[in-house]
């Protein structure tokens, strides 16, 4: 097989690893640990022009190919000289640069959303965006003003970006999430008298901890305690631990000792992966994990001034020489190396890439690549290669390998080469699922676009997948790369809400801040570009305009907002309260209306406020509801203003029932009556008047007879009177209040029955002809289990009800008699239904006979 010229694209370090037998007894062997290989890819030649390289400056580069911040110390050491803060993209294009005028910066770092954090000596943290505009500041604790920050570290965890500082009093202070600052002062480390030789922050078991080393001792500091720990299988010859590095996901930990040994193991220190002697006694400048998730070969990159070492469990090391001073930026799946002139990526060679590009590889992918190359040369060898793959039945695998390998490549040419090979191979397969190929092509296009020198976001495919396309678009938006962001959204067919609309909104928010353009021009431009795009919130944009002091522009923009509810909060903020109220009502969201009403109430004088409400019935009714619970008097005022006498009357009636004292109650009712009169509601006026009369009557009764009935209804009062036997008073009430006869008869009848005053009842029945008939007399007696009394009234019952009356007193014979006499079919059936065949034999027979004869007629 021919030699592959393209192998030279790679800085390959392919060497067989020591045989397994050579591994020490304590080192863990890994299946498949056959090759130990890393590659270094040049990402960019840096566009910046740093005269002194990275010397004399602090540098911080954000993970996921984020921006780089440099704080250059002044060249002259005069007291007036100030450091210079510069921000660059990963390719070294300048984004911002300004003179640092604040305090002494101890640490620079980036948040997960690409904001720059500058931790000052006095504990203040200044936040800048990636264009160097100041956003906000906060403090890591007042004690730091005195004791100062000795060291600080910025870290990322599932909770966001955090900061850990070491104070002059050798105490650690932690904030896990700078968006929601909660400072935690970690417990004291016993006997700590100086700066620890090294420390790092770990995020484990949903807790953030600090691991620190003083000399040979290791401690873990968590919220509650400081626990001494010792790594499992740590060589005794190690004396001082001078470097520590946690992996990107905090799963692993590496310790470097002054004897030149590196201990690698799990972050809880309980499992050891390996321990390697680097034979280097000088303390390294930086150490970082370089490890691809799911890969079997964890390794650590250690950097000295001119020298880089990759150390792994296979004990062998790889060395690189460095031309310039550099920094390591740990990433999810690799380490980036930034120097004054170059930006490189160091990563473990992916297994597929290795299989394809390895010299003399017979892997299906390698053969397919070869086949395609021959095919392009129009050589028949192509066929031979293809046959060979097919003989191994590996064509599908070959295609997959090529596609996967393409994903790992940074050079578009190599990507294309591999993808073309894959595509070529696909032609000979039926039923090959195209998804992987298509998505890889798509992802690579996006990646190539953002990796471009002008954009400068050197993401790997794995990082891109981890960060998701939404986040990538956010990052582009932060960088104001709107057209590219929109291109990507459209290309990936991201739903408008999450894609184009969001980008456009950010664009518009940025646009309204351009002070040099006139309000009309901006408003027109914004509406032209945004139009009816789904999911655009004009109110957000207007809010931004208002924040920049452009009220007029904000109002213009609000007019484009189709959802009136969204306009309200901003209108209120801009003191357009009347407009806000009508918009709130239009929105149909009562809660919103209420918000505006409360606002207006505090803002306006009472008269104007009521007037405004009067024009908005919905707001008014809402406010009334509120007043009913909270401010009764306001409610009255409201009705008063509207001359709503009816409601005022109701108001007073309500008030009278909530009132305990009789006098006040009466005056309330008096008021109610007056209002009802004004409202020309005679009925209600009369009713309240009667109520007053009744109350007066009840009071008198209470005074004279000691019967408590104040507040009872007329009915209850009458009932009470009859029960206690005050018949005269009852009679008087009955006349005064023109109680209908029927009601009075019912009432008296029931009361007498309740008292079981049968004598009085009989007397009563004879006073005059009963307006309710006499059946109720029968019923009521039966109800009180007095058949004897009941019988007395049966004869008086009208013929129509007589059958019922007889049945009620249990006189079936009598009932039958009447029914037969009246020859009423219904009544006969009724009686029959009460008869039992055995005991009432004769009655049944007679009834049936009558029915039969009646039927004949």
């Amino acid at each position: 097989m021919s030699c592959r010229s393209y192998a030279s694209y790679y800085h390959y370090y392919l060497r067989p690893v020591a045989m397994l037998s050579e591994l020490g007894p304590d080192s863990r062997s890994h299946d498949g640990c056959v090759f130990f290989s890393h590659r270094k890819i040049e990402l960019y030649e840096m566009g910046w022009n740093l005269k002194e390289g990275l010397r004399n400056c602090q540098i911080a580069a954000a993970p996921y190919g984020g921006p780089i911040a440099l704080l250059k110390e002044p060249q002259r050491s005069s007291p007036s000289a100030r450091p210079q803060l510069e921000i660059y993209t990963s390719s070294g294009s300048p984004m911002a640069s300004f003179m640092w005028k604040s305090g002494v910066v101890k640490q620079l770092g980036w948040t997960i959303s690409d904001d720059l954090l500058c931790v000052q000596e006095d504990g203040t943290v200044l936040v800048y965006d990636l264009f160097g505009s100041f956003k906000r500041h906060f403090s890591m604790g007042n004690e730091l003003v005195q004791s100062h920050v000795l060291e600080a570290k910025i870290f990322h965890s599932p909770y966001g970006t955090g900061i850990a500082v070491l104070s002059g009093a050798y105490r650690f202070i932690l904030a896990t999430n700078i968006e929601d600052i909660k400072l935690r002062r970690l417990p004291e480390v016993p006997g700590l008298q100086g700066v620890p030789s090294c420390w790092t922050v770990l995020s484990q078991d949903r807790q953030t901890k600090v691991l620190l080393a003083t000399g040979a001792d290791l401690y873990i500091l968590d919220n509650t305690a400081c626990t001494p720990v010792s790594p499992s299988g740590f060589s005794p010859q190690a004396t001082n631990i001078i470097q520590v590095a946690g992996s990107f996901s905090y799963k692993y930990l590496a310790l470097f000792t002054d004897s030149g040994h590196v201990w690698m193991g799990s972050a809880n220190l309980k499992e050891k992966l390996c321990e390697v002697d680097t034979k280097m006694r000088t303390p390294p400048t930086q150490m970082a994990w370089c490890w691809r998730p799911k890969s079997q070969q964890p390794s650590v990159v250690i950097m000295w001034e001119k020298y880089l070492l990759v150390v792994g469990p296979c004990k062998d090391t790889i060395q690189y020489n460095l031309d310039n001073e550099s920094v390591l930026v740990p990433e999810l799946d690799s380490v980036r190396i930034i120097s004054g002139t170059h930006h490189e990526l160091l990563q473990e060679v992916p297994v597929v890439s290795e299989e394809i590009f390895k010299i003399a590889s017979m892997a299906p992918g390698a053969l397919l690549l070869e086949a395609h190359k021959e095919y392009e040369k129009e050589s028949q060898k192509a066929d031979e290669y293809l046959r060979e793959i097919k003989e191994q039945d590996g064509l599908g695998e070959a295609v997959k390998q090529c596609v996967e390998a393409a994903g790992y490549e940074h050079e578009p040419e190599t990507q294309k080469m591999l993808l073309r090979a894959a595509s070529f191979g696909k032609c000979f397969l039926s039923n090959f699922r195209p998804e992987q190929f298509v998505s890889t092509c798509r992802d690579l296009r996006v990646l190539n676009a953002v990796r471009d020198y002008t954009v400068g976001i050197p993401l790997t495919l794995q990082q891109y997948k981890q960060m998701t396309v939404q986040v990538l678009i956010d990052r582009l938006v932060y960088r104001k790369l709107y057209p590219l962001a929109i291109e990507i959204c459209r290309y990936l067919k991201i739903p408008e809400y999450q894609g184009v609309s969001r980008v456009l909104k950010h664009w518009a928010c940025c646009k309204v801040q351009q002070k040099e353009e006139a309000d009309e021009v901006i408003a027109r431009m914004v509406s032209l570009k945004l139009g009816e795009t789904a999911g655009i919130s004009y109110s957000d944009i207007a809010a931004r305009a208002y924040e920049c002091g452009r009220t007029e522009l904000a109002i213009k923009l609000l007019e484009f907002e189709p959802r009136s509810g969204e306009q309200v909060p901003l209108l209120l903020k801009m003191k357009r309260s009347q407009l806000a109220l009508s918009k709130a009502i239009e929105s149909g969201d009562t809660d919103l209306v209420y918000t505006v009403v409360t606002y207006l109430k505090n803002e306006m004088n009472r008269g104007d406020f009521f007037m405004t409400l009067r024009n908005q019935p919905i707001a008014l009714s809402l406010y009334r509801q509120f007043c009913k619970h909270q401010e009764q008097d306001t409610l009255k005022d409201l009705y008063n203003q509207d001359d709503d006498h009816q409601e005022l009357g109701n108001f007073y009636v309500r008030a009278s029932y909530q009132e305990g004292r009789l006098d006040t109650r009466m005056s309330c009712l008096q008021n109610a009556m007056d209002e009802y009169n004004k409202a020309k509601n005679e009925f209600n006026a009369k009713a309240t008047e009667e109520e007053m009369r009744l109350l007066r009557f009840q009071r008198r009764l209470e005074e004279e007879k000691g019967e408590r009935m104040v507040g009872c209804s007329l009915q209850d009062t009458l009932h009470c009177l009859l029960i206690v036997g005050l018949h005269k008073q009852a009679e008087q009430l009955y006349k005064d209040f023109r109680v209908p006869d029927k009601r009075y008869w019912w009432l008296k009848l029931n009361a007498l029955a309740e008292k079981e005053d049968w004598e009085e009842m009989e007397k009563f029945s004879k006073t005059k002809k009963s307006p309710i008939g006499y059946l109720p007399f029968v019923d009521v007696c039966i109800k009180h289990h007095n058949k004897y009394e009941a019988r007395k009234y049966v004869s008086k019952v009208t013929p129509e009800q007589k059958v019922k009356a007889h049945i009620a007193v249990g006189d079936l014979e009598g009932a039958a008699e009447v029914a037969i006499e009246r020859r009423n079919e219904g009544e006969i059936s009724l009686v029959l239904s009460h008869c039992t065949a055995t005991t009432d034999r004769t009655i049944v027979d007679r009834l049936n006979r009558t029915r039969a004869t009646a039927g004949k007629k």
């Binding site: 919905i618 109701n650 009713a687 009744l694």
Partner: protein, 616 residues
């Protein structure tokens, strides 16, 4: 049921998912306050909460003690208090008092208020006024929907009715909109939306508004059509006496949150028994939709079947007996227990309902519905009031009279009202004012007065509000137009024919064949016509506000799929069990499946109690 039903009726979606969503959210909220805490629960949230998460679940999330909100001082020693309440000003005030009392006593605690289903600005304003806004953290538990049964989902918001229709307070509209949005996003997309009523329209708009945001994924649609209806479109139906088993149980024993407490006279033991009434209960499932006269027959049939099942034990060998005991016996016993309960309940109802006066009451109701012998009805009502039979019942009859007759003659109105006040006290002036405002009980008056007033007011305000104001006024003087509607929609079947309640032929069976519920008839008509075409006159009589909307499912054209025959009916302001029974019947006839979503289950008593002035 004895009558035939179409066999191709589609399956209902699984609504237990809603419970799970609510539970997960509640747990999340409880975890936001880590550590042991005491939980205070609003009284009317207790039963719904019980359906979502039991005490064990709450304890698992470090709830120490549970209290009912009773607006009295509290005796809790916990240093973390959590309040699970409805967004009501009084309750928030009560909490403010607790916090302020603690402050005065120098007690340090953390407080968290969880508003369900949402918080209102007014509540936060109270916190602010009382100076404790910063001391209390607030959250929302978006627990909108409680599935009471396979086909009933309740918002459990009885105050919706009074607040919205009487108070003119539309804040619950968004809540209903959110509920619909939730259903739409879980079981949708719906392909069609119909509705009638002002509130229905607003809820529809609120839902569409909420639907605009968020993702547009299209899962398999499980519900085809939604129908929104305002309670004030049909007041007659809920005011009629219920005679179908489930409705009767509700009228007599009051079903609360899908469960009922049977008193000792039903259980024939010393204890009351709480029973869940839903389709899990096989016995109940068979009789719930039956006319009461039918229930005893079915129950005794059931008892005979049960006996036969028991009897099979005889002549079994050991092995068969073993399987019988392990598999069937428990089910049979359970059934036995339920059967005896329902028989007890029917007996107890029988006692009350076969009495002479109940028959007369029904007769009066039927006369009112038919518009027959109105004078006799009025004197019956008068006697009812005079004899003080029942405060609520009298009011119910008065309202039915007014609704069916398009208001009372001034003379009758005044005399009946005066009698009522004499019976139950002058404070009912306010009740009458409320009933008048809602159009439930009105005095007939000359048509002009209103228009004069309207135009007078109209001049005072700008154009935009005129519409709103007219709306408000029209609701004020809303005419029920029942008679005309009844004629047009043939709601009252001809009296000539005998109605066989065992094999009902239409929805009228739920009222002994005397009346087809207007609300359900409207739904039937609109579904049949796929819109309001041809119903113009009806909607005019109902004060309009009908609408048809594509519900955002949009592109789906497969009209024949099963989900198209699943129809979600949302009652704004509540619905009665009789209406649900009627819809179940309609579904069986036409091969639909109805899902009823209601702001609360109501009956005549609940509806009218909400009109009393001391209500809230």
């Amino acid at each position: 049921m004895a009558h035939s039903s179409r066999k191709d009726a589609p399956d209902l979606p699984d609504f237990s998912l809603l419970k799970r969503i609510a539970r997960d959210q509640l747990i999340y909220l409880l975890e936001q306050l880590p550590g042991k805490k005491d939980l205070f629960i609003e009284a009317d949230l207790m039963s719904p909460l019980d359906r979502i998460a039991n005490v064990t679940t709450l304890k698992e999330h470090e709830v120490d003690k549970l209290y009912k909100v009773d607006h009295k001082p509290i005796y809790s020693t916990s240093d973390q208090l959590c309040f699970l309440i409805r967004p009501r000003i009084q309750t928030v005030k009560w909490i403010a008092d607790i916090v302020n009392a603690d402050k005065a006593a120098g007690k340090l605690r953390s407080y968290k208020i969880i508003f369900s289903p949402q918080k209102f600005y007014a509540c936060e304003a109270v916190l602010e006024e009382q100076g404790i806004y910063g001391d209390v953290s607030t959250d929302e538990w978006a627990f909108h929907l409680l599935p009471l049964d396979d086909d009933i989902i309740s918002l459990e918001l009885p105050e919706f009715f009074r607040d919205n229709f009487l108070g003119g307070d539309q804040r619950w509209v968004t809540t209903a909109g959110s509920a619909l949005h939730l259903l739409h996003s879980v079981y949708g997309p719906f392909s069609k939306a119909y509705g009638i009523g002002r509130c229905a329209k607003m809820v529809y708009e609120s839902w569409r508004e909420q639907g605009k945001e968020g993702e547009k994924k299209t899962p398999q649609s499980e519900i085809g059509t939604v129908f929104l209806v305002d309670r004030d479109v049909d007041f007659v139906t809920p005011l009629c006496s219920q005679v179908v088993y489930e409705g009767l149980v509700d009228d007599i024993f009051r079903i609360k949150c899908g469960s009922v407490e049977f008193t000792p006279d039903v259980t024939s033991s010393e204890k009351s028994v709480k029973v869940m009434l839903n389709s899990q209960d096989k016995v109940f499932g068979e009789i719930r939709n039956e006319h009461f006269s039918n229930v005893f027959g079915l129950l005794s049939q059931k008892a005979r079947n049960l006996q036969t099942a028991y009897d099979r034990r005889r002549g079994m060998d050991i092995k068969q007996m073993k399987t019988f005991v392990s598999e069937e016996l428990k089910g049979l016993k359970q059934e036995h227990h339920l059967l005896s309960l329902h028989i007890g309940a029917s007996e107890s109802m029988m006692k009350r309902k076969t009495k002479q006066d109940f028959q007369e009451l029904l007769k009066t109701e039927h006369s009112l519905l038919e518009g027959f012998e109105i004078r006799e009805c009025i004197s019956y009502i008068e006697e009812h009031i005079n004899r003080q039979v029942s405060m609520i019942e009298s009011l119910r009859l008065l309202c039915l009279l007014s609704l069916t007759e398009n208001g009372l003659l001034p003379k009758d109105y005044r005399s009946l009202k005066a009698q009522y006040l004499q019976s139950y006290g002058t404070e009912h002036l306010l009740t009458f004012a409320n009933l008048r405002q809602l159009g439930l009980l009105v005095e007939q008056q000359a048509g002009e007065t209103l228009t004069v007033m309207e135009s007078k007011v109209g001049k005072l305000v700008n154009d935009k509000t005129v519409g709103k104001l007219t709306d408000a006024f029209s609701s004020l003087a809303k005419k029920s137009n029942f008679r005309a509607l009844s004629k047009r929609l043939a709601l009252v079947p001809k009296t000539m024919e005998e109605y066989d309640l065992r094999t009902p032929r239409d929805m009228a069976y739920i009222f002994s064949g005397a009346y087809i519920p207007l609300s359900c008839k409207l739904i039937e008509q609109v579904l049949e016509r796929e819109g309001w075409t041809g119903l113009e006159e009806v909607t005019r009589l109902l004060n309009g506000n009908e609408f048809v909307g594509s519900a955002g499912g949009g592109s789906e054209t497969g009209r024949t799929t099963d989900s198209q025959r699943i129809i979600l009916v949302m009652f704004l302001g509540g619905c009665s069990y009789s209406e649900i029974s009627a819809l179940r019947f309609l579904g069986k006839e036409k091969g639909y499946k109805f899902i009823v979503v209601t702001t609360a289950i109501i009956n005549a008593a609940r509806l009218l109690e909400a009109m009393l002035d001391n209500y809230g």
